[in-house]
């Protein structure tokens, strides 16, 4: 096996890494935004329940949740390794993303809400047209951090045998006895994925920046 085949075998695991990320990150974002809005504007009971949600899912390592979903719950719902991985990462990430969005929502000054109401916007309109557009911009830097974490955490699905980058590096390392090149190839591929993603998000952040408010 020449070097090209060697690297391309490991790199073909990128499909799974990107797949898991593309499911868990947007799912976590959607749930995170909804929950954050409920947390901030939904009253005390909602805030208490969601605080518990956040505490629990930020307190469980994704790989534990992965094993629970795949091995323990498997009698009832037969999830594939890929979906068990994507779901558990998505759930854990939703708790983090809720906190990111919540922080962004809270950092838009309360005076703006008052001012919006004073010019005749309803509460929902004020949230929709005044608070959220500013909060989203504030959320991008911490969110790109979360995206990088999810890309790297997607390697956890290797524990269930999804042939993603890390598992492929292990397999080809064992059969060729070239462990170091195998793991270095994997590291470079992960690095490039994270680098490209965070770079794109920085561009987005610049593009969306409000000119008068750098």
């Amino acid at each position: 096996m020449d070097l090209g085949q060697f690297v391309s075998y490991i790199a073909s695991g990128t499909v799974y890494t990107v797949g898991v990320t593309l499911i868990s990150l947007p799912a976590g974002l959607l749930i995170g935004i909804i929950l954050a809005l409920l947390y901030v504007y939904g009253g005390k009971t909602a805030a208490r329940v969601l605080n518990l949600y956040s505490t629990i899912f930020r307190g469980i390592p994704p790989v534990v949740l992965l094993f629970i979903l795949f091995f323990a719950v498997s009698k009832g719902i037969n999830l594939s390794a890929f979906w068990a991985g994507s779901l558990s990462l998505g759930v854990v990430s939703s708790a983090y993303q809720m906190e990111i969005v919540r922080g962004a929502l809270l950092s838009v000054s309360g005076d703006q809400m008052m001012a919006a109401r004073a010019v005749g916007l309803s509460r929902l309109q004020a949230i929709r047209y005044v608070v959220i557009p500013q909060a989203i911009r504030l959320a991008i830097p911490p969110w790109s951090n979360e995206a990088a974490i999810i890309i790297k955490d997607s390697s956890l699905v290797y524990a269930l045998g999804v042939p993603e980058i890390l598992r492929r590096a292990q397999l080809i390392g064992a059969s060729s006895q070239k462990y170091l090149p195998a793991y270095i190839s994997a590291a470079i591929i992960y690095f490039l994925l994270v680098f490209i993603t965070t770079h794109l998000l920085t561009l987005l952040e610049k593009k969306l920046a409000i000119p008068s408010n750098p």
Binding site: M1, F67, F71, K75, A159, G161, I172
Partner: protein
């Protein structure tokens, strides 16, 4: 009180789930035969038992053996690659029908899964050339000679752990070869005194080379290896055991051993 009540309800639910899990009694064998497919897990990072071939497919001693078992069951074989640590859990939770991955019998594992009859027992052998005049009565005796071994094998591990690390065999007197046949060549030429290798391929080696002979063989670095099966499924175990015995009787397993362990 209310909190306790909820706790009790939760525990009862968990217990009910566990009971539900264990009370499934119909044999997996029926399911395998109905679906005409058996789902087998392995951790394809352990050559020569299971590893990737040049084309990136799974191959090895266990892999070919399992293919023949599936063939004799008249069912298709679906491989699932998984890290070794996850295999037992995957069999006991029903994600896999069985697993073959060079498993030695283990009491802890036996609590959650069953083991087939051993399909292979690896023994280690010491081979010497015709000029050899020493004696080897216990394995540790080879520490007095120049020893050769294939690097990275279980034998290499045994020599390193039991003779080199305790200081019995000087590192300089242990030659590690890429292949067993290279070591045999050096043995015939007198560069090493004793070669340690798997007994099965060694027998083929000795048969080809009349200058060499086996002076000692025993289970040192290895032991019996078995297929991991779901817990308590006696029908499935009986069928697998029957096929394993058949494969041993007609020499299939010995041929595989020569093919995979004699390099």
């Amino acid at each position: 009180m209310r909190k306790h009540f909820l706790l009790v309800v939760a525990l009862v639910l968990v217990a009910a789930m566990l009971v539900g899990c264990t009370s499934e009694s119909s044999s997996l064998l029926n399911k395998i035969q109905e679906n005409k497919k058996v789902i087998v897990g392995t951790s394809a990072d352990y050559p020569p038992y299971e590893y990737l071939d040049e084309a990136g497919g799974i191959t090895g001693f266990d892999v070919e053996l399992m293919a023949e078992i599936a063939n004799r069951m008249g069912v298709e074989l679906e491989w699932v690659d998984m890290p070794f640590d996850s295999l037992v859990a995957a069999v006991s939770s029903g994600k896999l029908d069985m697993s073959i991955s060079c498993f030695n019998y283990d009491e802890e594992r036996d609590k959650t899964v069953d083991f087939s009859e051993a399909y292979y027992t690896t023994e280690d052998a010491f081979v010497v050339g015709s000029a050899f005049t020493g004696t080897i009565t216990v394995p540790e005796d080879i520490a007095n000679y120049k020893v050769g071994v294939q690097s990275g094998t279980v034998q290499d591990g045994w020599l390193t752990d039991n003779l080199v690390t305790p200081g019995l065999l000087p590192e300089a007197n242990l030659s590690r070869y890429e292949r067993v046949d290279q070591a045999a060549l050096d043995l015939a030429n007198g560069r090493i005194d004793v070669l340690m290798a798997d007994y099965v391929p060694v027998q083929a080696l000795v048969a080809q080379n009349p200058d060499l002979q086996v002076v000692f063989h025993a289970e040192l670095s290895t032991g019996p290896i078995n297929i991991v099966l779901p817990d308590g499924d006696t029908e499935l175990k009986a069928e697998i055991d029957r096929i394993i015995k058949e494969l041993q009787a007609d020499g299939f397993i010995d041929q595989l051993a020569v093919k995979y362990f004699s390099e």
